[in-house]
Each structure stands twice: as C-alpha cells, then as structure tokens.
C-alpha cells in the first residue's frame, strides 16, 4: 500500500473538466506517470501524475475540496 501525496496546495479535482469523466475510478489500475487528478493553484491547473503503478483503492479527498501540500490524496495497492 502506497499513498500518493499532494505536491502543491490548492483545489483538488478528479476530472479534467466539470462535465468530463474522472481520470481514474476507485478500483482502476494505474501506471507510473499516468495523470490521475488536477490541482488548481491560483487559477492554474496542474496535472497530478502517479509516481507508482498499482490499483487505486481509495480517494482520500473529494472532488473540489481544498488540499494542502503533502496531504494524502490517493491510496494505491500493489505498488
């Protein structure tokens, strides 16, 4: 079990735009370097890329919530 942490403070989004599907769903497989979320910092959108490969077991933060630097955001299994 690995936890992906926020690399910057801002607002956390699971989808590329409000109407789009989430980048990844809970239970989905992800690979290293894959974009898994966005963090908005001062109206700039930054892609969050996974540093690990594995299966997303849990999002620890809701879409649109505030996130602080270093906060745990996603649990990944099998990494």
């Amino acid at each position: 079990m690995t936890t992906i942490k926020a690399t910057m403070p801002g607002v956390f989004y699971r989808r590329p735009s409000p109407e789009a599907d989430p980048y990844v769903a809970e239970g989905a497989a992800i690979s290293e370097g894959q974009t898994i979320a966005l963090i908005e910092v001062m109206k700039t959108f930054n892609e969050v890329k996974s540093e690990v490969s594995g299966t997303v077991t849990k999002f620890l933060i809701d879409d649109g919530d505030e996130v602080s630097m270093g906060q745990d955001i996603i649990e990944v299994d099998g990494a």
């Binding site: 910057m8 801002g10 607002v11 735009s17 789009a20 910092v41």
Partner: protein, 443 residues
C-alpha cells in the same frame, strides 16, 4: 446606501474606499482563507460565506445573496471576475429587491455570449473582425475560409479568455486544425461549436471605458492600451493609447458610445477592440463590469469610476458630461503577480514575508495585502497594481521604473523582475507594441 462587496483582494478594498467616500457603508464577504484580510478589517461589517475554494465562497451565489440579506445591505457590488458577469446572479440580486451595481441582466447576457455580442455590434454599426457564424464541418469551413482569407483563427463559441483558439496559416492546414479544435472544444467546454475569424496581424488591444446612467447619459472616458499580454493575460496597461491619433481616438470612442447606447447599457463597461496597424479597429467583446486596469483611466481623467458606479446605481445622473473630461498626462499600470517569470510563470502561493510598496509623486498602489499575509493558492495571483502617472508617457515610464526599484517582495516570487526588464526595453519605451510582442520577446 449599504453595499455588499461581493469580491476579495484589491478590488474589494477599492469598492470599500469608494463607499466610504460616498458616505455609504460597506459590508465585506470572506472565505475561510480571507478571514483576517485587510479589506475585511476596513469594511463596516463582514459576512463569512464559505470555504476557501472559490466555488464554495465567492462563486456561490446562494451564499453571497444570503450574506446580502443577513447584513441588511441594499446593494451588491460584484467587482470583477467571480459573479460579476453572471446574468443569473444579477437577476437574483434584483429579484431580492436589492440594487445590482452593474448593467441589467439582459445586457450581461447579450454581451456575454460571443456570437450575440458580435451580431449586436454589427447592428450598432460597430466594425467586427471579418468572420463566420457557426461552422458545422470541415467542408463548410473551407468554403467560409475562402471568403475570410488566411491567416485565420478557428474559435470555439463557448471558449473565452484566450482558450479554444487555434491559428490556421493556409488552406492546407484547415481540415486538420478544424477537426482538432472541434474535439478540444467538445472536451473542454461540452460544446463543439466553432467559427472562423480573420487573424489581424500585429494588432494592438485597445479598449474604451464607458459609463451610462438612468437619465440617458452615455459617455466614454477615453481608451486604454493593454497590448502587453502573455497568454491573453495583461501585464502592463496604459492610458491613453500612445500614438493613437485624434481621428482613430474619435472614431473608436464614438463607436463604443454607440454600442453602449444601442444595447441600453447602464453603469461602467468596457468595449474591447483590436487595432490593426492601418488604423482599422474591430470589436472583440464588451466587459460588463469594472476592470482590473480601471485606475489608469482614473488618473489621466480625474474621473472616479467607482464613485460614478455608485451614483449610477443609486439612480443619480453622472457627475459630469462628456465635454467636462479631458486627458491629462499618461499613466501605466503594472500588475504584480505572485508568479515566477523565471520558471514558466508558475504561481507561487506562500507568506508575504516582506511587502515594501513604492510611493512618491504620481504613484498609486492598489493592493489587498499587507506584509505577513498568506497569499493563498485558491484565487488569482495578483499581489498589487502599481499605477504610475506622469505629465507624459516618458515620465510615467520613468516613475514606473522608480516605483519598481522601491518595491520589495519576499516570501513569494513576483513578476516585478519581468516588469523591470520590460520597462527597460527600448521597443516599449519607444512607442506602442502589439499583443504578440511580449510572447515573442519571452521566446
């Protein structure tokens, strides 16, 4: 009057100051992140409206309206950004029996939709960039493009702020760019509607400030040049536009008044144009609110735009007529943002450890912050606007250089170093530049 200030940062403070000068009370609103901010302290009352994320506070119409009612406000000033150009919000404010400091909701709607705004400008006899209506497929695009000519731009109807625009340099590129743009627009805006527009090379961004009251008075307050842009974000604005010429000035300002009259405009607004090197100008859009760069107009005309906004909102006539205002001197505004120009303009939230602001003759600083404030990641990156007035453009630029030399910002990065370089650039000092100048210079 008791005015709810539905905004944050320097424009909230600007509105509060205008209220106090007019003998009105100002009620601030604030998110979690802005609880201890300077504008909240300087307001007569303050209402908490939600969490730090803008969608949960300053963009939340329900929360802002609830704050207006709870505070006993009888007017709402939306500032710029956030809910300022949200027609539904303006309508709800009025339905609650409150004054919206801005134009009627129908006018916001009309000018907020690009295609409608363009059609309205044509009806009002204001020139627009040669272009098309909605284009459905690449085949139709080829037919339309032949009439418009190359180079041209493919634009998303639902885009804005520079998003959803792609250049096409010649006919061979058209089909592919059109297909890509359609896919992008569908993904980004949920609407794949596209239109084509001629690309005006080496154009300047010239905008005209207008004011209109309930008594039939519609005036312009001259123009601003906002051509120094990066990714359509303005970094330096000037008034008046250098080397514009009396004929073009007369034509562009009267076109703006004509449009404002035609749409039944009320309160403060800005009509934005592209000005081609040959002196032809084309309507781009109308912003139905006060703008960030309004101070340069104030310092070269002596017109207090916020004071006039409040007068108009209260049903009073403008305090002056067109013949009363004249241009005096020149002004330049530097938008100092918490971004690192040495690292692709990455935003840098953090604590404003040091914040020494400049002063002296002709210098005005509009900022919502003081040293020790935390510059939060939740909102835009603007730290301060330095507005520098001189008897002529050269003096204004010289004072701007002096102001930058006095400015000390520590704890976050800022664009001040870039502003310093630009003010030292002989091209900018020598006269007007076009909207692609800065991007070309940055490489």
């Amino acid at each position: 009057m008791r005015v709810l200030v539905a905004n944050r940062g320097e424009i909230a403070l600007r509105i509060i100051r205008a209220c106090h000068e007019a003998g009105a009370e100002a009620v601030a609103v604030y998110s979690d992140a802005d609880k201890d901010s300077r504008w909240v302290q300087l307001a007569d009352a303050a209402e908490h409206i939600g969490k730090s994320a803008a969608a949960k506070s300053y963009l939340n119409a329900d929360a802002v309206l609830a704050a207006a009612k709870a505070s006993g406000a009888d007017a709402v000033h939306p500032g710029y950004g956030f809910l300022s150009e949200n027609a539904g919000f303006a309508r709800r404010v009025r339905q609650e029996g409150l004054i919206f400091v801005g134009p009627p909701a129908e006018v916001i709607e009309k000018m907020g939709d690009k295609a409608t705004a363009r059609r309205t400008a044509v009806e009002a006899g204001v020139p627009v960039v040669p272009g098309s209506g909605p284009v459905t497929d690449a085949g139709e695009a080829e037919t339309v493009a032949a009439d418009i000519g190359f180079p041209l731009l493919v634009k998303a109807s639902a885009g804005g702020g520079g998003r959803g625009i792609r250049p096409v340099h010649d006919a061979s590129e058209l089909a592919e760019v059109f297909a890509t743009a359609k896919a992008e627009a569908t993904a980004a805006f949920g609407d794949g509607t596209l239109y084509l527009e001629r690309m005006v090379a080496e154009a300047r961004h010239i905008e005209v400030q207008v004011l209109a009251d309930d008594h039939g008075n519609v005036v312009h307050v001259y123009e601003r040049d906002c051509s120094v842009q990066r990714r359509r974000q303005k970094l330096i604005e000037e008034a008046p536009a250098a080397e514009l010429g009396d004929d073009v000035r007369a034509a562009i300002t009267s076109a703006s008044v004509r449009l404002a009259e035609y749409v039944g405009y009320r309160n403060a607004g800005t009509v934005e144009f592209l000005l081609a090197p040959d002196g032809e100008f084309y309507f781009m859009e109308m912003n139905t609110r006060i703008q960030v760069e309004h101070p340069v107009t104030e310092v070269v005309t002596g017109v207090d735009l916020l004071a006039e906004q409040l007068r108009i909102a209260a049903g009073e006539p403008l305090s002056f007529s067109q013949g009363d205002i004249a241009l005096e001197g020149a002004a330049v505004e530097l938008r100092i943002n918490a971004e690192d120009p040495g690292n692709n303009f990455v935003p840098t939230p953090g604590e404003l450890a040091r914040f020494d602001l400049p002063g002296g003759p002709g210098i005005r600083v509009d900022s919502g912050f003081v040293a020790g404030d935390r510059i939060s990641p939740f909102y835009d990156s603007m730290l301060a606007k330095l507005i520098c007035w001189g008897a002529d453009r050269q003096q204004a630029l010289a004072r701007a250089r002096q102001a930058l030399a006095e400015l000390r910002i520590e704890g976050v990065s800022s664009t001040a170093s870039l502003h310093g370089e630009l003010l030292g650039d002989p091209e900018l000092a020598g006269g007007p530049v076009h909207t692609r100048w800065l991007e070309g210079r940055l490489g």
